[in-house]
Amino acid sequence: MTENLAAENSKGRSPWALAWARFRKHRTGRAGACLVAMVILAALLAPLIARHPYDEQFRAHFNEGPSARHWLGVDPISRDVFSRIVYGARASLQVALAATAVSVALGVAAGALAGYMGGWTDEVLMRIADAFSAFPGILLAIAITAAFDQRSLAVVFVALGLVGWASLARIVRSRTLSLREEDFVQAAVALGFGRARIVFRHILPNCLGPVIVTATLLMAGNILGEAGLSFLGIGVQPPQPSWGGMLADARSRDLAAFWWMATFPGGAIAVTVLGFNLLGDALRDVLDPRE
């Protein structure tokens, strides 16, 4: 591995080019990237891929299982399951992406501040982070979501974002603490650069790798979180289709007899989450070659 790295380095390529070269050889990483790309395409091209509108009721095909007309069957009120899964990718990705953005913004800001300032700033921010991670994530998300009377996507993604920021803050903080002692940062301090310049130009760019890895794994967690909240009825609201909501709908039927109503929407969740988990694990291998 070391020889390999030395050989790669001798070509004078940037760390990102090296990481990309490593990623292309990573088999499970490629599999994860394919799964994620598939879901993103489904969300973007939903009207082209879905064969029916997601809210059209086919009363003549009541309780119909998988068939040539309805590939994955129809749901309890006779809507096409395949079309609803394709459109459901939109809600899932939108919420997860926005929630991850909230976590990243809060976590990076809090982590860099705590790590660079130290002292009581560090103490206060980290105790708040402790308080947020003390409770099981789903309960915290439920409490925040349920606190608002209006059910909008914004409430859901802010709640999920507030659940995830603490882990990111800890990672950025510990990274900042060790970077602060590095020679190049000390040199920047000696040159008299301002705090903002040191943090934004010298410290944060060096935190990018771990942040990308954590954000990818957070995407997986947020997709599960959104599905859970929608399953409980406090997430994405009908008529907008969501995978968790479809599972909640399926519960009104005998699951064993109408198996397709629950199997496929949940399968979509599992495949998407697996994709992000595989991608995150691979990115960790690729961006952190020390291990």
Binding site: F135, L139, L232, L247, W259, A262, V273
Partner: protein, 308 residues
């Protein structure tokens, strides 16, 4: 040792007071009114007012919190706004199904996750390693409520061997499916962690020494390496148990189990303040006690750790 346990339990008092105060303030700040949630949309304003008066919802926050502390000193958590039953009784009733589910799924997770992790570490890059790590990765990616529903489908196809809904004390007929569903994620986590921890220990010098002495391989793995590898694993087991005991609202919903998770969910949605505050304090108590047990377990695993 006894003084250590007593000291830790004594530290619990300020923690519980702090947590109850934080919960009170949070519920006070957040929008939503239990009296309006309880009554129909265009209810008689007088009825709403009566409910508010009965539960002292119009009193200022310090007055309400002082009254709460006064009752707490007598072991009384107040009554639920929804059912008017004592909160302590509700929590106790709801805790038994949750405890049964938590212990059952943890046992399932241990029985599956530990051997899988150890076998993978002993034969890294073998088919058994590849297979169990693939299953473990899938396990952490599955939504627990969907897994529960798939077990219900499977159970139906196989002729309804188990109940798919409801609860009865100590009845495997009722708790096998929910425990398998809930335990799978924990099993997957444990398998991945056990593998990593065991791999690290198996490369240590004392393992080489034991092998050089001619100690049987199973003994090296199970008595020497595993015992040391267990330290980080016990931490995760403790965290898992604590979070399982705080109720699994999704699993409880799928299998219609009247547990703590579902009660908390309903209470939060209905702004049933006394139940929410009581449940949060109960959770804090569970977390602290489980962590105490984990700390005592460390001392047993690693004789260098002493708490005197």
């Amino acid at each position: 040792m006894t003084s250590f346990i007593l000291r830790r339990l004594f530290n619990l008092v300020p923690v519980l007071i702090g947590i109850s105060l934080a919960t009170f303030v949070m519920l006070y700040v957040l929008p939503g009114d239990p009296a309006e949630m309880l009554t129909p949309r265009r209810a008689d304003p007088l009825t709403v007012k009566q409910i508010r008066q009965k539960h002292h919802l119009d009193d200022p926050l310090p007055v309400r919190y002082a009254a709460f502390l006064g009752r707490l000193a007598r072991g009384d958590l107040g009554v639920s706004i929804r059912s008017e039953r004592p909160v302590t009784k509700i929590l106790l009733n709801r805790f038994f199904p949750t405890a049964q589910l938590a212990i059952g799924s943890l046992l399932f997770a241990l029985a599956l996750g530990l051997p899988a992790g150890v076998l993978s570490a002993v034969r890294p890059r073998s088919w058994i390693d590849g297979a169990s790590m693939l299953v473990a990765l899938a396990g952490v990616s599955l939504p627990v409520f969907w897994l529960g529903m798939m077990l219900i489908v499977l159970n139906g196809q196989l002729g309804a061997v188990f109940a798919v809904s409801g609860y009865a004390p100590f009845s495997p007929y009722h708790f096998v499916l929910p425990c398998v569903a809930l335990g799978t994620v924990t099993a997957a986590l444990l398998a991945r962690l056990t593998r990593a921890s065991m791999l690290e220990e198996l490369h240590r010098d004392y393992v080489r020494t034991a092998r050089a002495k001619g100690v049987a391989e199973w003994c090296v793995v199970l008595r020497h390496a595993l015992r040391n590898a267990l330290v980080p694993i016990v931490t995760v087991i403790g965290v898992s148990l604590a979070s399982l005991l705080s109720g699994a609202v999704l699993t409880e919903t799928v299998f219609n189990i009247p547990g703590l998770g579902r009660e908390m969910f309903d209470a939060i949605v209905a702004r049933d303040y006394p139940v929410v505050v009581g449940a949060v304090m109960w959770l804090a108590l569970t977390f602290v006690i489980v962590n105490l047990i984990v700390d005592l377990f460390y001392a047993w695993l690693d004789p260098r750790i002493r708490y005197d």
